[in-house]
Point group: C2
Chain length 681, copies 2
């Protein structure tokens, strides 16, 4: 008696013997091989494409003869004719096993496919979306055995796709579409089924008559205090179809988080007003991004939010007042799985599901959790410091043994606010600065041009609107370069023209400013770095540094092995200048990297992979939170960090980069007061 | 070494040994004794009252000495002083075991208490409500171990009440109340938790600061084509606090179900219009019944609906068009568990849960399922026929071995519609009729008076509005009495005055009518039973009888052992007259009973007992449906049943009641045409 043919799947290596005539898809399912299928083996969806190999596969111990699979059949021929099949490809549901065979499942035919993220740090992302499409053929109703159309659809999902349907949910708006859809589709229908990572049962989110060719999309939303940024992702392969951002319209209720909390405290119904406002903005953003991605907004079936705790509460419709005062109690810290309609997200599919990442603490939100999910400090071999710089900086420190987290109130200076010539990062804003240590003359680049200001053609490149101001990364470089060029001393004082040797030092009352750019003759702006600007940057960087130091204290270390700068802003900071300023603890420069918008990346990971949701929920519980607001050492570090560069950390590495002049203009009169007013509570 | 004291609970008989000092509530919980507690043993809620017995309990093998429980403590003394404790009662959470003791748990201290239904057929109903109150003390937030208030509430529910909280749900509106409630209640709160019979996890429906004294209520709603009737029930003990009904305002879209289906087919958006209308009426009814029951509408946390399939679909917002044509496919046949807000039931608690009983088939709805739940034919020892009479009659036949169901389109004649002097059951309507077989003179009673029309004081009792018409039970008695008095012959013809010997036989065109009441001299109505009325009743009763016969055929029987007349109308039908008419198959008269509003009772059972919900779901799957619309024998039975009394059934029993004269007025000219037009499809 001859044995049944041996079937080996690659890349999984799973193998088994199957009777002659067994469809490849059936063999794959029985072996638990990850081979996709929307139509359940009806030759409609073509998701189950495989590549049989022929010849000698000695490492698998088989030789595959021609004819190991059945001949290409009519369904496959028609598919190839109409849509085109790559050479050598077969439909797994049509090709049947005839002899020993090695079958490769290409990445695009895997449900849990791994895709390479298109980002600076190319990384593999595994797809495991919570919402998937299923095509089914449903029994027609029978008067002699009367069951509802929904019950017959459930049976079809169970029989044809192995879905556990006992408590499958179908909300009323979808149920009301079922009968017309089944009749229009001649008793076939495509259903979008959702099963979240913590759900015991599937639910039907939407239905289409017959086999629906469309795709499902998700929105990964980074809901910041200032900006709402979204990525529109294809839920099959994680591809980013479009990205868009809008200003957070809550800004009119307060520039920073604490002023929004104050607004809610002072104005009855103010929290509801801010909730309504931000939800409207998200709806607008969803419509825009769908248009940009050329899809219907109703194809958006999933949304993931990452945000800080105050934005988190305002998004959910919870008064954030408790977040404005000790003990900074969150209404809820766990992740949330919601219906889009609970958040009034009417622009997307009404049945869309929403996942909100968990918060780490009252000051360390779901955005920090998203950064953790993206950068995975809990898997790091070396001690890693992750700094997500924004109006509040979220700081994570740790490795695979232990991770700490805190947030630090840096204020908006790093984003160009509270800076005399500050502006948001937009065309015309100075983003790079160099100052010649000898001549003390500056040159700079503005957003929208690759030319230095001293190069020919700069004026033309910048155009009529000209140089408009200085953005966050620009002010950091300007202050750092001023320090390196000896225009600013260790205490942060700008020297007079006499002291610095440049007429760009201009007296302003009792202090001085440094003139970076003067277009006033042409009616343009005079862009200076004032003493106030330096003080604002000093406060911000001291807060950032103090937060990092506090975590290092808690961890019992004086150095870190690796620094990751995250955040839209973090991506543009020059590590060298950050270190000159003393924003971050010293670390070999080559070990400082930028992760780009790590919170947004974390949101995308959670959008595409439900097991990542479960993972971050568990990880967050293990992250130890350090509350800066009640920690006396934070104040000590904050004050100690005020100097440029600060005095507390070894400065060995930095000396390799640039020799800082040992100047001091301190006449004893001026000093940056009001450091303490930045504390919360 | 002495043994620990023996504790025996009655009535359960559960027993165990516990260390001296163990609180009675703790002992009860460890033994799985059903002893209630809302506050989790804090001496606040007083739900855990028990009655210790002292003396000789020989049947339990113990003698209980004085001092078997600890002395009454301060908490009990204060409770007794403030609220009063029945003599001998102790608080189970305060009293501790000191020696062998027998402890009785009175019915009101049991969660799953059994209550006697206040209805004609007194029956025991077991409480097992899906929504219960829990009082908890919640930890205050701690900055060093930051968790959300919700997470600390969950932990408290788990620790203090053993609730499984891992996936406990809390919708956003409730979550937004949590922080203020905890602070107002000084870190104590009362939560209403819901766990439906098919739910894997609890959900928080509402919250109150501190220990909330209020009670939770539920609405059992019988949503009929004509009337919406509701009972407001206390979810602790099932007590009916109030009952109310309103007309179904959908009547303006069509008197009967098929005209409403037609309205939906003919008018785009017509189904949505009817859905909106009925939901508004339910909201109005909820507000009225809450006012009558002197509770806040927000205390209504559960609602159960029973209704026919068309009302079912219109309630849920599903176009009922498929129910108007073969194969009469339901969108869904299973039970539904919903949020009140999904049905726009804004008048009650926004988080209230809704349970809709399952439908049996496209013509046999959740109302029939509720009748089955109430009357339990599937537990019957003898073959039981249950007839729920309405515009459609739902008919169940079976016993513990097998149950069959069908519906029959009786039309509205039994409800007084399509009857010349017909009216709804309301004061002034004739409801009882007797006709002297010798004089052929009638006497009658009207709703609102106990006097016969021939008795002294009748006119005064009826009052100024007088006799206004004839209701469903009245027309049935009138026609039956006319038959018994020989005024109507077997074929249903009314004889002329010559033939009947009474001037009350009045010629009307080619036919005759019988004058029941004439107030025309005083400007009042002339109330007659016309030949058309007889024909309408014949059609209705033939349909009802044919449905019953069809089920008997299917069951292979010629007789039934027991008949239950159900429905608000069924409760008022005289079994004798129903049998004279041939509405129901013959059966010894003493085995014909009325179950009152059995559908409403079924709704109340499902409201108070979640395991009854699971039970009826399972039972409904086993009920075999017979579709009258496609069954040729239904037509045969229908035609054969037209006679008064019908010719197909033995008439032995009935002859004991009344001797029917063998008269025939048939001149061959007139006959009830149009019988066939009443068929659906």
């Amino acid at each position: 008696m001859t044995q049944d043919p041996l079937v080996i799947f690659t890349p999984s290596g799973k193998r088994g013997r199957f009777a002659v005539g067994t469809p490849v898809l059936t063999a794959a399912r029985q072996l638990g091989v990850d081979l996709d299928s929307v139509c359940g083996g009806r030759g409609i969806c073509s998701k189950c494409q495989v590549s049989p190999g022929y010849g000698d596969f000695s490492k698998h111990g088989v030789t595959v003869q021609p004819g190991a699979l059945s001949d290409v059949n009519a369904v496959e021929e028609r598919y190839d004719r109409v849509r085109g099949l790559k050479p050598g490809r077969r439909l797994g549901c049509q090709a049947t096993v005839q002899g020993d065979v090695v079958i490769d499942v290409p990445p695009e035919s895997q449900v849990h496919k791994q895709v390479v993220r298109k980002a600076a740090s190319a990384r593999v992302m595994t797809m495991d979306p919570a919402t998937r499409l299923y095509y089914v053929e449903v029994d027609e109703p029978d008067m002699h055995s009367p069951t509802g159309d929904l019950e017959r659809l459930k049976r079809a999902l169970a029989d044809q796709h192995g879905i556990e349907v006992d408590r499958l949910r179908c909300d009323l708006p979808v149920l009301s579409k079922l009968q017309p859809a089944l009749r229009k589709g001649k008793w076939t229908v495509t259903a979008a089924l959702h099963k979240g990572h913590a759900d015991a049962h599937e639910r039907i989110l939407d239905l289409w008559p017959g086999y629906w060719e469309g795709r499902l999309y998700g929105l990964a939303i980074d809901l910041g205090s200032t900006t709402i940024a979204a990525h529109l992702c294809d839920l099959r392969n994680g591809e980013v179809k479009a990205s868009a951002g809008v200003m957070n319209p809550q800004i009119r209720f307060g520039e920073d988080l604490m002023s929004r909390v104050s607004y809610a405290m002072m104005n009855p119904g103010g929290d509801a007003e801010m909730t309504r406002t931000v939800r409207e903005a998200i709806n607008t953003l969803a419509v825009e991004i769908a248009a940009e991605g050329e899809i219907e907004p109703s194809q958006i079936m999933e949304t993931v939010f990452v945000c800080n705790p105050v934005m988190h509460h305002l998004l959910l419709g919870i008064d954030p007042v408790e977040l404005g005062q000790a003990p900074f109690a969150l209404a809820t810290s766990d992740s949330m799985s919601l219906d889009a309609r609970e958040l009034d997200l009417s622009a997307i599919n009404p049945a869309a599901r929403v996942f909100v990442l968990p918060c780490i603490a009252g000051h360390v939100g779901a955005d920090a959790a998203a950064v953790a999910l993206s950068e995975e400090p809990y898997k790091a071999e070396v001690l890693t410091l992750i700094v997500d710089v924004g109006t509040n900086a979220e700081i994570l420190l740790g490795d695979k043994r232990r991770v700490l987290a805190c947030s630090s109130p840096t204020g908006p200076a790093f984003e160009g606010a509270q800076i005399s010539s500050g502006q948001r990062a937009a065309p015309g804003a100075i983003e790079r600065v160099e100052i010649d240590p000898v001549t003390k003359e500056p040159r700079f680049k503005v957003i929208g041009s690759d030319l230095w200001s001293t190069e020919a053609g700069f004026a033309e490149a910048v155009g009529a609107s000209g140089v408009t101001g200085i953005c966050g990364s620009g002010i950091i470089e300007a202050v750092a370069e001023m320090r390196a060029a000896g225009i600013v001393d260790t205490s942060g004082l700008i020297g007079s023209a006499d002291q610095t040797g440049t007429p760009r030092s201009v007296a302003e009352g009792r202090t001085h400013s440094y003139l970076l750019h003067d277009a006033s003759e042409d009616g343009g702006p005079r862009i200076s770095v004032t003493q106030g600007d330096i003080r604002a940057i000093q406060l911000a960087k001291s807060a950032l540094y103090a937060g990092a130091r506090l975590l290092m204290d808690e961890m019992g270390v004086d150095e870190v092995d690796k620094v990751i700068l995250a955040g839209a802003f973090g991506a543009h900071i020059s590590p060298k200048h950050a270190m000159i300023l003393g924003m971050i603890p010293d670390c070999p420069l080559e070990r400082v990297s930028s992760a780009g918008n790590a919170a947004g990346t974390g949101a995308r990971i959670a959008l595409c992979n439900r097991s990542a949701r479960a993972d971050i929920e568990a990880r967050v519980r293990d992250i130890h939170k350090v509350e800066t607001a009640i920690e006396p050492r934070f104040q000590e570090h904050f004050i100690a960090a005020n100097a440029l560069p600060h005095a507390t950390a070894p400065f060995v590495e930095l000396r390799k980069i640039v020799t800082l002049p040992e100047v001091s203009f301190n006449s004893g009169g001026e000093d940056g007061g009001g450091r303490r007013r930045r504390r919360r509570g």
